[in-house]
Amino acid sequence: MTRLLASNAILVAAAITALGAFLMPFAVRRGRRDWLMLGYAAVYTNFVLVTVATLALVWGLVSHDFSIAYVAQVGSRATPTFYTIISLWGALEGSIVFWAWVLAMYGAAVVWFNRNREGNLVPYAALTLLVVSLFFHVLLIGPANPFGAVFPVPFDGPGPNPLLQNHILMGVHPPLLYLGYVGMTVPFAFAVGAMLSGEVASDDWIRLTRRWTVASWGFLTAAIIAGMWWSYEVLGWGGYWAWDPVENASFIPWLTATAYLHSVMVQERRGMLKLWNLNLMVGTFVLTILGTFLTRSGIISSVHAFTTGTIGYFFLAFIGIVLIAALFMVAGNSDRLASDGKLDVPVSRETAFLLQNLFFTAFMFTVLIGTLFPLVAEAARGVKVSVGEPFFNKMSLPLMVALLFLMGVGPALPWRKAAGPELKGRLLPGIVLGVLMLVAVIVAGGRSVYAMLAFLFAGFALGVNLQEFVRGANARVKAHGESWPMALVRLVAGNRRRYSGYVAHIGVVLVAVGVAASSTFKKEQEATLKPGETVTVAGKTLRFKSAWGRQERQREVIGATMELMDGDRVIGTIEPRMNYYPTSQQPVPTPDVRSGWTGDIYLNLMAFKQDGSNVTVKVIWEPLVPWIWIGGLVLCLGAILGAWPTGDRPATRTAGAPALREGAA
C-alpha cells in the first residue's frame, strides 16, 4: 500500500514535471500568462507529490514494512527509531529520494516568492528547476528505485550500515549537505534563466537569488564542518580531514561557491565579471552533480559509496548535457556580457576580490585534479594509484596562507580608489595581533614556515575584521550617542550583508587556527596498559581502570574506563569503546573525547585482551581542535546574518563610492 502510493507519486511527479517543462517555453514565446501559471503549478505539484513519496518511504521505514525494497535493504526492527528515520539517507535510493524532495522544496519556494516578477527570467528558471527535477525522477524510476517489491516479505532486515548508526551527527551532516548541494541549483537555474531570457546584462538573477545562495553556502559550510566532526568523533583516527575523495567532493563546489559570493559583489558594485559569475554558478552546479556522481556511483569505495550499478552513466550523461547546453547559452549571450566598469586602480577592493577568485579557482582545480587523477590513471593506463595527502597539503598550504592574508587586506581596502593614509590605521590592529600570534607559535615550538605564516596571517585577518566592527561601532557612538553594544547591533543590522561577511571571516580564522595548531602540535601515543598503569601524553596522565562489556539493544559494546589524573587525584573518566553490530564483522571504533578550551584529549580503544587483563589505547592530544567547531558555528552565524530575509533593501549598483556603505571611513 505504502509502496504503491510512493512509487505512483514519483511516476506522476515525473509526468507533471515533464509536461511543465514542455509547456514553459511555449508559454514564454507566445506570452500566455495562463500557460505560465500551469507551468508554475507543475513546480508546486511536484513538491506535493515528492513530499508524499518521501513521507511514505519514512513511514515504510518506521512501520518496518519490509515489502518495500529499500526498507528491506536498510531497515531492522532492532534499530532505534531515530536511526531508522535517518536511514532515509543511509543508502543510495533513499538519498536520491531525499535529494529530489529538497530540490522540489527549493523549486516551489523560489518560484512562489518570485512568481509575480515581470519578464522571462523566472519562467526560464522554473523550466530549469523542472528539468533538473525530472532528471532525479528518472533516477528514481530507473537505476535508483527504492520502491521495488520484495516477495516473500522478510520478517526483519539487516539495518543500516553500522558506521551510519553510531553517532547522532549522522542525523545532521547529510541533510545539511543536501540543503547546501541542492540549494546551488537555485542560483544555477536563475543563471540559466538569465541567459535564456537575455536578461544577463541586469544583475537581477544575482539579486533575486542572493539569499538563496548565501543560505545554501551556509548549509554546505555547516555540512562540511559537521562531516569533519563526524569523522573525528566516529572514525577513531584522531583526524578530521584526509583529502578523501568524498570529502573533496563536498569541498570543491564550496570553493567555487565561495569565490562566487565574493565576485558577485564586483559585478553589483562595478558591473564587471558578468561572464565569470555565470560560469562560476554553472560550474558550482556541475561540481555538485559531479560530487554526487563520485560518491554515489560506486566508482570510489568509501562509507559514502553505496553500490555499483548503472547510475554512474546517468550522472555522466547529465553532466555532459548541462555542460554543452551551458556552453551554447554563454556563447549566445557573449555580446551582452561586456563589462561596464574596468579595473582603474591596482590596489583596491576589486583587486583583492580578483586575487581571491584566482586563488579559489586554483584551489578548486588542485583538489579536482587530485581527486580525479586516480580515475583517469586507471582508465587510461590501467594502473591503480591514489593521490596521497602530501600532494593536497603541498599544493593547498600556500593557497590557504595567501587567502588568509587577502582576507585581512581586502576588508581594509576601499572600492575603486587607491588606498589612502587611513589604510595604516585599519591594518594596524591586524599587524599587532598577527605578530603576537607568530611569537606565540615560535614560543610553543612551531618551526614550520607554513605554520608560522598561517598564524601570522590568521592573527592579521582576525585583527582587521574585528577592527571593522570596533571602528563602525565607535563612529555610531560618537554620531548618535548610543551605548557601545547598541551601536554594534545597529551597525550590523544596518548593513548586514557587509558585516555578515566579516563574521564569516572571523569564523574562517578560528577554523584555520584550529587546523594549523592541531596539525603542528598534535601529540599521539599508543600504549598497552594493565589495570592501574598510566600513560602520559603532552603532560596529560591517564590511568587504565578496567575493561568492560555491555549488551545494548542493537549492538554489543566493549569499553575501557580510563581515568584522567592530576597527580594522585582522579579528575575525570574517559571511556573509549568498540561497538559490535550483528551485521558487521568489523567493530565500529567509538573514541571518547574530553574537550577543553586549549584542546581535546582523544582516546581510542585499539585492542584488548579477552580476559580484560590489558588494553591497547591510542592517546592523542589535539590542541585547539574545539576551535574548529566553534569557528564553524561562527561561519554559520555569518551565513544566517547574510541570508536572513527581513528588513533589507535590495542593493543598488553605485558608480561612485557611497559614503554610507563605507561606514565611518
Partner: protein, 150 residues
C-alpha cells in the same frame, strides 16, 4: 595604454599563470602518486621499488604474525600467493586483523627487504553481509562481557 593592449596583457598574464599552475600540479602529482601494488608487482620492480610510497595489497600470510604488545611492534608477511613481503608496523593491529585476512598496507619498501608501514587497513567488503553462524564477532568477546558481569 589602450584597452585592447590591456586586454591582451591580461590574457597573457592569465596564460602564464595557468601554465605555471599546471606545471606545479604536474610536479606535485608526479612525486605524490601512491601506486597500489601486490607483493608480486612490487618485487618485480626490483631496485625501482625501494623507498617509494606504495599501497601494498594482499593477504596476511598464516603463521607470520608476531605482535609485541609492550613495544607495540607488529611484524607479518603479506602474500598474493606468488610473492611475499615482510612488513613492519607500529601500533596495535585492527580488530579484524588475522591470518589470511586481506589487508592494505601503506608505506615504503626499504632496502633491507622490510616494508615499513605507516598505515594498516583491513580490507573488508563494503557491502555488509550477515556473518554465518559461529562467525559472529561478538561471540569472541563474550568472555569479557561475562567477566565484568553486565
Amino acid at each position: 595604454m589602450t584597452s585592447k593592449r590591456t586586454k591582451w596583457g591580461a590574457l597573457a598574464a592569465v596564460g602564464v599563470l595557468a601554465v605555471a599552475f599546471a606545471w606545479l600540479i604536474y610536479g606535485g602529482l608526479d612525486s605524490n602518486v601512491v601506486y597500489f601494488l601486490t607483493p608480486k608487482e612490487l618485487l618485480a620492480k626490483g631496485t625501482e621499488g625501494y623507498d617509494k610510497p606504495v599501497r601494498l595489497g594482499g593477504q596476511v600470510k598464516p603463521g607470520s604474525v608476531v605482535w609485541d604488545e609492550q613495544k607495540l611492534d607488529l611484524r607479518f608477511a603479506v602474500t598474493d600467493g606468488t610473492g611475499e613481503i615482510a612488513v613492519q608496523s607500529k601500533g596495535a593491529p585492527p580488530q579484524m586483523f588475522k591470518d589470511g585476512q586481506g589487508v592494505v598496507v601503506e608505506g615504503r619498501y626499504g632496502r633491507d627487504g622490510v616494508f615499513k608501514s605507516t598505515s594498516l587497513m583491513v580490507k573488508h567488503s563494503n557491502e555488509y553481509k550477515a556473518p554465518t553462524k559461529g562467525e559472529r564477532p561478538s561471540e569472541m568477546y563474550k568472555s569479557l562481557m561475562k567477566s565484568t558481569g553486565t
